[in-house]
Amino acid sequence: MMTRCRPLLGTFVEISIDQDLPMDAINNAFASIEIIQGLMGFHNPQSELSQINQLSHQQAIDIHPWTSQVLRVAKEIYHYSGGLFNCGIGHRLVAAGLLPQHIKLANVDLGGIEDIHFLAPDLIQSKRPLCLDLGGIAKGFAVDMAVKILTSEGARSGIVNAGGDLRVFGDTPRRLYLRHPDQTKLVLDIGEFQNCAIATSSLYFAKRDCRQSHIINPLAKEDDDMHVHFEGSCSILAKECIYADALTKVLAISGQEQHPCFERFSAQTIWIRA
């Protein structure tokens, strides 16, 4: 049994495996997350994501297979959520002071994930200028990738938790807890799980720290409706964390636990209405 924790992706990433393996197993899992951070970080003006935001409307861009995987899933969820999940909301988060400003955005008709086209498996171009933020999906992908690395290194069971979005792997049932949305130092026991992921969207830390809601409704017409406000916490259980992570936004924005999108991705919802 070994547990380590590093600050990555703007949060604390904790990796725990149940057996003793050479330290390189966990090192390599962390290294894969670092690569994802380098590729998909909005904060880093040199990241591949920043390149996409600056150039993809002018030229075709060759991207890393991992970025391509994330963009494909993002497009898929965009499609099945009827546009409720759209990574093309970076500029809204910049305007709210939640993300740094790298490019001038004024008076530009910005597109969304729907404008990205794959010219080849790892070659994309956009029809319109973009300000994508992968903050709502890349963390889940990073958790999945870390799990993939750990199992390929011989780990039979364990857990990867990226600041609250997590995935358990292996056949050991594990008790999972969710933070109580009203009193964050209390937790709720949600049962025992194996081989699944859970991710959560909630505004309790945003409220605590007096920040604007980071959940953006991409379909909102008026500025006032842009930032979604909701009570409690929205969690999604799915087989892979990338889907769990992205689908929490669909639940939070739609407010519908029965949205057809969840069945499409074999996901289940947990909405704790405090």
Partner: protein, 182 residues
Amino acid sequence: MNYKHTSLAIASLAMLTNPIVVQAKIYMSTEQAQQILFPKKILSKAPIIITDDLQEKLRVASSIRHPFQGDRIWKTADGGWFIVDEVVGKHEMITYAVALNPKGSVLGIEILEYVESYGYEVAQAQWRQQFIGKTAQNAIKLNQDIQNIGGATLSCKHLTDGVKRVTVFYDLALKNYPPQSK
């Protein structure tokens, strides 16, 4: 995917509520972090006296008020640095180790301890004292069995500020160490 739910439609919170006074996690000792960040290297302790002037410069550069301690610094034979520091935020206290290469770039960060609680507790030196010097072997007997907590994503901003302070400290005090006589 396979799971046994306590309940999916969570109706009765009271039944499911499991109170936590404080979430304390000890990941590893200083020695373990040294082995991870500088594998197979010998580190020698290199404490540095933090003068009031230096302390003030660190505070200005990083906006962290909690004083930096100069007695948790180690050096490798080839000029790398290993520094243990902590951040005391309003909601958490984190002890962490930073490895720097001889030029002051961050090679790696490892969290040693993470204690989450409310501000008034974390802010008290006396309260913090109970966690200092604890190792993974003698972990605090406080909700140790509660692992695997999901929820809204936690931010590591304070820790990032702390790491920034460590790199400023390198520039101000370690870069030209030992101080060369002019």
